[in-house]
């Protein structure tokens, strides 16, 4: 190769290299254009998420207290060890690593796995809860060894009264998929940031919005090692409001004790404002079991029990009212101007239908002799009411029953309330496509027909005998205390707008007015007084609950009831002692005391309790004693 040629080749190839370098650097420039101009937003967001972390500050859930500020649901500070499931850790290895600090049991692992499976929400999942102080200290000292385990301090719900009041207090549990859907639909999802629990039943559910508060958050800047560089913003949480209930824990406790081993429900109301003072549903359960997800064996035990402890009988239990319906049937008769005293019948122990087609017997075989409407209530004379019912007819009866709240929700501040049922020919046609027989009218008049009621309905209807205000409704909430403990918002039990679904549109006596007392027709007040007078006689000598009157220092007005669980065959005789427990009649009892100026209304259902006066009466008596003696 000669020199000239060499020089030429060199120049050419050097220019090629020059071009090549410019070419590859141009590629880089294009790449930077792509990264910094086209993808800027994307990388900008990534850089931000690198260094900006948001840590939520959970709101402390409000407490639930009774009217005397006895704590029914509280928060206790606990320490938990939690894992981030994103790290895909081997639980057994964690267990081994932690073994000299805390023992992770198989139950803990099972619970962890269960939570993990159902977890749609929180970032970390507890592997061990309720650490002791020693365990916490040990863990902190060795924390550097466990970067994948975080120690968390949280407030855990606790129900110090255990079984007592479990149904109305309710419980919280971990947020599940269904809750999330519901929260998203109602637009409340974001206020659950950083929270794991939500109210599932009872007050915990009904007043969830007040109790749970609104979480705050801390926006922090971190470096690559996750050290906090600075705090950018803190939004303090708004803690939940404390709920003060109308419930009187002492009365509650007395009532629960009085119930003993019986199943059933009891409500005690203040007739003045509908305040619920006691709320019993038996058997009960321990709500503490639910807080972090109930374990399977406990769940099986509770949900499979034939006694159905999880059912809130006060609002969800449906029972035939039995003879406790009679005062209301009587009112319907008086309103329609039939059976008004001095009208009376001679009761021989049975009633023949007008067309002689069928004979209905009285609970007292020998009959009650001469019976007017007052005695009919006092001795619970079936014969009197059979005839009354036939003459009055179902439509007129139902108008009055509806006014007293039967067949519709009372709108008590409790979830899962059932409406009960007011039976009628139209209803039977719709439901069974069958004809209504006149005999059914007769038995409906003594509360044994299709008509069904909840204990809370019975209590409210009884309260309306005393306070015929159509806006009256049972209330558990007395007032709330906002978290700063300075302002307390008093909510008038009745003046607050109701959750108006199914609310009564008319007052008890058909007048479209709120202040019913002054405007009711004097006749109707007289009717009411007549029925109340009859109910006062129930606890006097000769009444169906005479024993109460004998032992009380105050007058009690009441009505006993017995609801058949199964029908007797013809000529079969009901013998309580020979029946198995679950086929025994339900005992019902409604009462108020003192008779002249009632302070407390009680409705009781004792399932399979037999005769109303005998089992339910003594329970009511003990509650009246406790309440009235305490008040005086």
């Amino acid at each position: 190769m000669d020199l000239h040629n060499f020089k030429y080749t060199f120049k050419q190839r050097l220019n090629f290299i020059f071009g090549f370098l410019i070419f590859i650097f141009s590629i880089l420039l294009i790449k930077f254009f792509y990264l910094q101009i086209i993808k800027f937003d994307n990388y900008s967001a990534l850089a931000k998420s690198n260094r900006i972390k948001i840590i939520s500050i959970p709101a402390i859930r409000g407490q639930i207290l009774d009217r005397n500020l006895e704590i029914l649901a509280a928060n206790k500070l606990i320490y938990t060890l939690e894992l981030d499931p994103k790290n895909k850790l081997d639980i057994n290895e964690i267990k081994k690593k932690l073994s000299n600090i805390v023992q992770i049991s198989n139950y803990d692992i099972k619970k962890y796995n269960k939570t993990l499976k159902e977890n749609y929400y929180s970032s970390t999942i507890p592997i061990k809860t309720n650490l002791t102080n020693t365990q916490v200290a040990k863990f902190i000292a060795n924390q550097y060894k466990y970067p994948e385990i975080s120690l968390k301090q949280k407030f855990s719900r606790t129900y110090p009264k255990q079984q007592t009041g479990a149904h109305f207090i309710g419980y919280i549990n971990r947020i599940n998929k269904k809750d999330i859907e519901r929260l998203k639909k109602s637009g409340k999802f974001e206020s659950y940031m950083g929270l794991d629990h939500i109210g599932k039943t009872g007050i915990e559910f009904f007043y969830e919005d007040k109790l749970h508060g609104y979480p705050g958050y801390k926006k922090i800047e971190v470096n690559a090692k996750n050290d906090v560089i600075r705090t950018i913003e803190i939004i303090e949480p708004i803690h939940g409001e404390d709920i003060i209930l109308n419930i009187d824990y002492k009365i509650q406790k007395v009532a629960e004790k009085a119930f003993g081993k019986y199943k059933g429900a009891m409500v005690a109301l203040d007739p003045e404002n509908g305040a619920v003072l006691a709320y019993i549903s038996q058997p009960s359960f321990n709500p503490n079991l639910f807080i972090n997800g109930i374990d399977e064996s406990n769940w099986r035990r509770l949900s499979d029990s034939i006694h159905k402890p999880l059912i809130n009988r006060v609002v969800s239990g449906i029972y035939p009212p039995g003879s406790t319906l009679k005062p209301f049937v009587a009112l319907a008769a008086l309103e329609n101007n039939i059976r008004r005293p001095p009208f009376s019948i001679i009761d021989k122990g049975f009633y023949n239908m007008p067309n002689q087609s069928k004979t209905f017997s009285d609970w007292k075989k020998s009959g009650h002799g001469k019976v007017d409407i007052i005695k009919a209530i006092a001795v619970s004379c079936d014969t009197f009411f059979y005839g009354l019912g036939i003459e009055l007819g179902i439509p007129k009866l139902n108008i009055v029953l509806k006014r007293f709240g039967f067949g519709q929700k009372t709108n008590i501040d409790m979830p899962n309330e059932k409406a009960g049922l007011i039976a009628s020919a139209e209803w039977k046609k719709r439901k069974y496509n069958k004809k209504w027989y006149q005999g059914e009218t007769a038995i409906t008049a003594i509360g044994q027909g299709y008509t069904q009621t909840t204990p809370i309905q019975l209590a409210l209807a009884t309260a309306k005998l005393i306070n015929p205000d159509h806006t009256l409704r049972p209330r558990l909430l007395k007032y709330v205390i906002t978290p700063n403990h300075m302002k307390s918002k008093i909510i008038d039990s009745n003046k607050e707008t109701s959750h108006s679904q199914g609310a009564l549109e008319f007052n008890l006596f058909g007048k479209k007015t709120k202040s019913s007392y002054s405007l009711v027709n004097i006749n109707k007040i007289n009717d009411l007084n007549l029925v109340k007078k009859a109910m006062a006689l129930v606890t006097k000598e000769g009444g169906t609950a005479a024993f109460i009157g004998r032992t009380s220092s105050y007058d009690v007005s009441a009505k006993t009831g017995t609801a058949q669980v199964f029908s007797l065959k013809k000529n079969e005789v009901y013998d309580e002692s020979k029946l198995p427990d679950k086929l025994k009649d339900h005992a019902l009892f409604i009462a108020f005391a003192p008779s002249e100026k009632p302070q407390l209304v009680i409705a009781i259902v004792v399932e399979n309790g037999g005769h109303g006066g005998a089992t339910a009466g003594p329970i009511a008596k003990k509650v009246f004693d406790a309440y009235l003696n305490e008040a005086n």
Partner: protein
Amino acid sequence: MINLRLSKYLNNIDRFLIVLIILLLSIGLVTLVSAAQQATAIIGNQIINITVGIILLVFLSNVDPKRFLFLAPHLYILSLILLASVIFFGFESHGAKRWINILFFNFQPSEIIKITIPLMLAWLYHRYQNTINYRTHSIAFIILAIPCVFILDQPDLGTAILIFLSGLIVIFLAGLSLRFIVVSIFSFLLALPYLWSTLHLYQQNRIMSLIDPNRDPLGTGYHSIQSMIAIGSGGFLGKGWSYGGQTQLNFLPETSTDFIFSVFGEEFGFLGIFILFVLYFLILYRCIDMAQKMQNTFSRLITASLVFTLFSSSFVNIAMVSGVLPIVGAPLPFVSYGGTSMVVSLTMIGIIMSLHSNKSLIAN
């Protein structure tokens, strides 16, 4: 008197090129102050590095090119000895044995070899310039291959490839036939699977993570992703000097050395990068122009090879931090913190200036 003497020393300095280089050094230093955060020692050291490099540059620009010609084989042998001694006396850093310590100086012989190989190859072609044939090229290959094998053994794949390429450039410029080049590239591609199997696992991982950085976001791809986030989030104007969150909060690794360009990109944005690239273009243009005007084979080959080395190193570093190439651990000449790289880069400029200003001394 002193002024007069000093100006005599500065006679051989190319004014245009030195202004560009000083601009580049200034940009690098400003970026380093931000990248080093509070580590003032790094800034002090870098100023010393630059000073030493500039003195060497001025000194070398006054050296007679004949001396380079004479010294080339000796320097080559010496650098081979240094390189070999890394195997016995070297110490490790970041999983590779690259450094040796001589007279309290820690330095990387693999950086020195970037100068001595072009010198040696240029010496070879200059000496046999009238009879360049396949034998000359074969000898050149052997001269090139020996140090590359040493460096591969350290192991330092990135540097080995760079040095091999800069040597190839000399052979290419010396007139290696195009047909041979095409055949070699083809057979290289064929041998690729075998070569792949000889790579260390970490090297394979680095290359794999380039293809998909998200494959292992917390492993080998992590640095690449964080670097792209830093650059991308800089946007058009950048976040401003010392305001780069990725840099200041340490999401970016090795901010003073290998990833200093990401710091620059994050804080000065696309506009900054564009200006920097204009500066690179001007430097490249000036150097190529100087090489084209040189009158002898030795000067031309050395200049072309050194320019290529500087720019291919720069390319590899920038391509690596922007996710175009795998993370191979190569500094950015004139900008990254590090004595050896800085001094070697300025030395190269000094040699080019010497060859340029003394172009008539070695006539063909």
